[in-house]
C-alpha cells in the first residue's frame, strides 16, 4: 500500500491527533471540525475526549457552566451512529 492511500486507522489517528492538539493550540473551530469529521465516519471515542479536553481547558470556571463541547461530542457520536450504519457500510 502506498503512502498516498493511507489506511482508515491512520486517517482516524491523524484527525484525532489534530483535534486533541487543536484543543490546546489551534482555533476552537479546528477541534470542532475534527469532531464532526470523525463522528460522521467512525464510531470514534476520540470525539468524546476532544470535547472533554476543550471544556476542561477553556470553561471559565465560575460556578456550573454547560459543557457545550462535551455535550456536542456525545450528541454527535450517538446521533451519527445510525447514519454511519446506514450509509457507510
Amino acid at each position: 500500500m502506498s503512502i498516498f492511500s493511507p489506511s482508515e486507522t491512520k486517517v482516524r489517528f491523524a484527525v484525532g491527533a489534530v483535534g486533541i492538539a487543536g484543543a490546546f493550540f489551534l482555533p476552537w473551530w479546528v477541534p470542532l471540525a475534527c469532531m464532526i469529521g470523525l463522528s460522521l465516519r467512525y464510531p470514534a471515542w476520540e470525539v468524546l475526549v476532544i470535547g472533554l479536553v476543550m471544556d476542561l481547558l477553556w470553561l471559565p470556571g465560575q460556578g456550573f457552566e454547560i459543557p457545550v463541547f462535551l455535550l456536542a461530542g456525545i450528541a454527535l457520536v450517538w446521533i451519527c451512529a445510525p447514519l454511519r450504519q446506514q450509509f457507510l457500510r
Binding site: 464510531p43 470556571g61 457520536v77
Partner: protein, 264 residues
C-alpha cells in the same frame, strides 16, 4: 437465515464505556472543585513552553529563515502599531479623567489605583477558546485570586480571573461572546454586549453625544477603561444609535498582563 439487523456490538459498547467515562471525569472535576482541569491546564502551559522552545530552535537553526524573518518583522510591526493604538487610547482616558478631576474643588486622594499587582505571561491564544477565556502563567502560588482584574500595560481591563490553579489561572474576557457588562461613556450608563476578540456593541439613545475614540469605562470594574468607541452607527429613522466598542490593543498580541487584586 442471517439476521439483517445483526450488528457489531463491540464499537457501541466501547463508545458507551467512553461516554460514561468522560461524564464521570467531568463530574469528578466539578465535585472536586476543578482538580482535573487544573492538572490539564498545568500540562497545557508545559506544552506551550515546549512548543515555543522547539519553534525558537527551528527558527534559530536558519531553516525557513526568509519566512521566519518576514513573520517576525510582520509581528513586530503589528505589535508596534497595537502599542501606539493603545497609547492613544490610554492618553484619551487620562485626558477625560483629568478633566473630571479638575471639576472637583477638593480632590480626595484615592490609592485604589496604586494597589500592588502581579505581571503574568499569557500562555494561550485567545482564539483557541470558544468561551472567551485565556490562560495566564500565574496562579494561587503567586497570590492571584478569583475576581482579580486583568489589565493591559495601558490600563485597559481585558477580563477578570475566573478560576485559579497552583501556577495557572483562567481569565474570562470582559467582551467574551454573550457576556454583558455595564459600561459608561458620554456621561451615560448602558449595557454593552460582548462579541469576542475585544469587541462589543451597545445601543444608546440618539440624543446622547458620544464621540469616536471616546473611552468607555466600567463602573463594576472600579471605573476602569474597558475600551474606546470604535465607530457609531446612527440613522435618523431610529431613536437609538449603535456603538461599536473596541479594545485598543490586539488581544492576540498580548504577551503579558497585569493582575490587580480586588479590594474588599
Amino acid at each position: 437465515m442471517m439476521n439483517s439487523y445483526r450488528q457489531n456490538k463491540s464499537p457501541h459498547r466501547r463508545l458507551f464505556a467512553f461516554t460514561a467515562l468522560v461524564l464521570f471525569l467531568f463530574l469528578v472535576d466539578v465535585l472536586t472543585g476543578g482538580s482535573v482541569r487544573h492538572q490539564l491546564r498545568g500540562g497545557a502551559v508545559v506544552l506551550r513552553k515546549w512548543s515555543a522552545y522547539i519553534g525558537g530552535s527551528v527558527a534559530g537553526s536558519g531553516l525557513l529563515s526568509t519566512r521566519a524573518s518576514l513573520e517576525a518583522q510582520n509581528r513586530s510591526l503589528a505589535e508596534e502599531l497595537a502599542q501606539y493604538e493603545e497609547r492613544a487610547g490610554a492618553y484619551e482616558v487620562l485626558r477625560v479623567e483629568n478633566e473630571e478631576l479638575r471639576s472637583f474643588v477638593r480632590l480626595v486622594d484615592s490609592t485604589s489605583r496604586e494597589a500592588r499587582g502581579v505581571t503574568a505571561p499569557v500562555v494561550s491564544s485567545v482564539r483557541t477558546s470558544p468561551y472567551g477565556t485565556f490562560l495566564i502563567g500565574a496562579g494561587e502560588a503567586e497570590g492571584i485570586v478569583r475576581g482579580s482584574y486583568v489589565l493591559t500595560s495601558g490600563g485597559f481591563v481585558v477580563g477578570t480571573v475566573s478560576d485559579t490553579g497552583a501556577h495557572t489561572a483562567t481569565v474570562a474576557e470582559v467582551f467574551a461572546p454573550g457576556a454583558s457588562v455595564e459600561a459608561m461613556a458620554g456621561g451615560a450608563t448602558f449595557s454593552a454586549a460582548g462579541s469576542g476578540g475585544g469587541n462589543a456593541r451597545a445601543k444608546v439613545p440618539r440624543a446622547l453625544t458620544i464621540r469616536q475614540n471616546e473611552p468607555v469605562l466600567a463602573p463594576q470594574l472600579g471605573q476602569r477603561p474597558i475600551g474606546i468607541v470604535g465607530s457609531i452607527a446612527s440613522s435618523t429613522a431610529s431613536a437609538s444609535q449603535e456603538l461599536f466598542i473596541v479594545l485598543p490593543v490586539n488581544l492576540s498580541s498580548l504577551r503579558y498582563v497585569y493582575i490587580l487584586p480586588v479590594r474588599n
